[in-house]
Assembly symmetry: C2
């Protein structure tokens, strides 16, 4: 007995907006499609939802397919359902955004996706409505990062304050006084100062810090406003 038999069924896709940070600038992981439609055009990584999996599972599967990574920060963003967004057949796309430590990214064996890290300032034209998704994701990461400590997900487990500040400055496209920055960020109580230094960036070296995971998970919901004058935030 199928009570819903008169209803239309739809294709369902998941598309991932994958952020990474290389110490210089914020980047997205894009692929060059190796298949039709829109072969050889740039696109977000995505795939169809399978019969047996939830949306979250689909997103995790697709992320792993491309990056080899599991257990990364992944959050559902928005569902796109314009009737003509996919010219071949109507498809609803549930978009997810992911934050990964760019250094953990492993080129997958097949490299069948021709993935590339592209700085946000140089995103090429993308297929379908993927541009809109990227726009929304840029707004969302700013919005959320202004209030919650999510940007740590983009850094390796040990990082320095100058690195962290660079990251915030990239995301918000602003510059921050380093004295005030360190005060605010240390005042969260989320950071543990380590005893050794990163000598890569300077002669003197900068102390490594790591996240206090317990406090991180406990305080994640709390407002942690690190950005001065967080005005022009989207959404």
């Amino acid at each position: 007995m199928n009570k819903y038999s008169k209803q239309t069924r739809f294709l369902l896709a998941v598309d991932c907006i994958i952020f990474g940070f290389d110490g210089e600038s914020l980047k997205l992981l894009l692929i060059k499609r190796g298949f039709n439609p829109e072969k050889d055009k740039w696109s977000l990584m995505g795939g169809f939802v399978q019969d047996s999996e939830s949306l979250d599972q689909a997103a995790n599967r697709i992320l792993k397919q491309l990056t080899g990574l599991e257990g990364v920060y992944l959050e559902q963003m928005y569902s796109f359902g314009e009737t003509t967004r996919d010219p071949i057949e109507r498809t609803i796309s549930v978009s997810y955004f992911a934050l990964i430590d760019i250094h953990k990214y492993e080129q997958q064996i097949s490299s069948e996706f021709h993935a590339e890290w592209v700085p946000l300032e140089r995103i090429p034209k993308l297929i379908f409505d993927h541009q809109d998704m990227v726009e929304m994701a840029r707004g969302r990461i700013k919005y959320k990062a202004a209030l919650h400590p999510i940007l740590f997900e983009l850094l390796p487990s040990r990082f320095t304050l100058p690195q962290l500040q660079n990251l915030y400055e990239s995301v918000f496209n602003t510059s921050i006084d380093k004295r005030n920055f360190s005060k605010r960020v240390l005042a969260t109580g989320l950071l543990i100062k380590l005893t050794d230094k990163d000598k890569a960036g300077s002669k003197r070296g900068a102390y490594y810090y790591q996240l206090d995971k317990d406090k991180y998970y406990a305080n994640f919901q709390a407002f942690v406003n690190i950005i001065p004058n967080p005005d022009s935030l989207q959404n």
Copy 2:
């Protein structure tokens, strides 16, 4: 030529979490299902997405079906896609939350939905995962209202400061000093003081205010934090 022919298609629903405020408490508009499955159980208002409409259009249609209202505040919230969330057939639900002026609500002719306004403290058991949707919506309205002036959508076009304060106190389940409240809320510059008073609530009467629509739309994205200590916010 259908390149996607091997993929599974899914039922797609839209479910609406509809908030209203009657001056006393925050309420949800729920329906008692008049059809199977789960006939006579409480549920959110929802419906299947049609072939010809976008997700937003579907949500607006469903909202209008129940309330008779158009042009109300309606925002996509989250998509629920657990494989077994609907026992009859797998259905993905895109949830929307709506804020409406409860006084504009018109019982629709058919009253085929047996709708009722239910205070948030007395939400009955709901079908499927609608409980989860309501929980998420409660978190979301707090979160967003702590930062943006969305609660005006719940009030009539003319309202008094005591009414507005009641609303904030209901949503955040707290009490606010009325002197500080009026300072903060007037400091936003979003309110226009009218010359006449609402004599219903008291002998002296309270001045009516209305939203400065232009400033409202212009400043919507800006942070407008009216709530003291907005800590325990979800999401």
